[in-house]
Symmetry: C2
Subunit: 218 residues, 2 copies
DNA sequence: AAATTAATTTAGTCTTGCCTAAAAAATATA
DNA sequence: TATATTTTTTAGGCAAGACTAAATTAATTT
């Protein structure tokens, strides 16, 4: 039985290893966990002891298959609960993350699977992130970002990179929501802002925003 | 922000003080919590410090208004989640308690109240226990037990005293379920067993079982 | 290649929540 | 009322999970 802290460390290592194939550094884990390096080192020893990670001093760390599966089970719960909160309990997509951080640690396989069924087997959470299946399989979509599109191209908005509450609210205000088709109309040379077409309205967004919007090219 | 252990102690004290008006003993708390007396003493000092209980050495302990409200908020969550598990996720009434023990500690008032709404403001949990309202008000029903009924009287089954999994399964097997009307047909002198009528079937149950079945006399 | 800087680990400490064993207080019994 | 028993508290310790400061190793610069 893993502790919350062990589960959270596994999750952090999982997310970091998506960008860092070779090995995740102690400091990067500490910064993601809002903790300090010595706390991480200590945890890595424990996780290694339990065969959840492969760790050698000063060498960075990687998940074992078992560790990866465990991390994905926590992520599965996190995302299913987020769907539940939005779809069934009227939460906004910017309000669910912190509560899901608590709910992801509830231990009951039956609960997770019944919740999955109750939600009609959702494939993605409210921010467009894919939900792992019970076996720990996760289906990734190629990650193209709105700012990658050329002028004249159209993309379908399928997820956000940064799902901070402020960015999500920003999108809400502009009525840019998951599933929208976004056409790149113009790119301003001066400040790199991008004019986009959304249904019948046109608006201008910053590159920074555009770089946080995942799209599939249409 | 209270810890799980603090919340669980408050819950234990609340339940124990229903029978013990005057003050709850250290040992009784320890036994309900499956812990030892010194752990309880230490916790009582902390809860007292936080104005959740009134505690004087060797004098037993009682909840303050604040402590009582806090305990009831945890109990409210516990029972709402139990309703959710049974009504929405196909759990049996004997499977929900342990999961609710985890879920009762999730911190979000909005979550609790949205869940309440989603479940259509249930008044009782799957075992017939009343659900406190958001203000911490709880509506008790006079607790008459099946074995209190006289021969010829009929009672409506509204709750169980002992909600251990084994007793709940026992009731399931005999198809004695919440809401049933139960008529006392006969009491055997020899072993005190009770013959009851349920819909069209008759069956015999022990006094021990009958003493765990709450009824309202019809 | 040496020196400097950065990253990581070790050493030692603190808090929470639990425990056992011993002491003290309250209660029951002779 | 004195003694024995039970209950509760105190004393002291342990594990988990965090931290700071110091030491060590690795990486970068000169
Ligand atoms: Mn999230
Ligand atoms: Mn978490
Ligand atoms: Mn319960
Ligand atoms: Mn609990």
């Amino acid at each position: 039985m893993l502790s919350y802290s062990e589960e959270n460390h596994l999750k952090a290592i999982f997310h970091l290893s998506l960008n860092n194939e070779s090995g995740v550094s102690t400091n990067s884990i500490a910064s993601k966990m809002n903790s300090k390096a010595p706390s991480v080192t200590e945890m890595l020893k424990k996780l290694s002891e339990k065969n959840l990670v492969v760790y050698k001093k000063y060498q960075g760390v990687l998940l074992t298959d078992f560790g990866r599966k465990t991390a994905l089970s926590v992520i599965r719960k996190h995302r299913l609960w987020e769907v539940f909160l939005v779809k069934k309990l009227n939460f906004k997509w910017d309000e669910v993350h912190d509560i899901a951080e608590q709910l992801e640690h509830i231990k009951s396989e039956k609960l997770t699977n019944e919740l999955d069924k109750f939600l009609d087997y959702p494939t993605h959470d409210p921010h467009g992130d894919p939900i792992p299946n019970p076996a720990g399989f996760i289906k990734y979509t190629a990650k193209l970002v709105l700012s990658d599109l050329l002028i004249g191209e159209t993309g379908k908005f399928f997820g956000v990179k940064d799902s901070s509450s402020s960015f999500l609210k920003y999108l809400d205000k502009r009525e840019i929501s998951l599933g929208s088709n976004i056409k790149v109309l113009h790119k301003e040379e001066f400040d790199e802002s991008i004019q986009i077409g959304l249904d019948d309205t046109n608006l201008s967004i910053s590159v920074k925003s555009a770089a946080n919007i995942y799209v599939t090219k249409l």
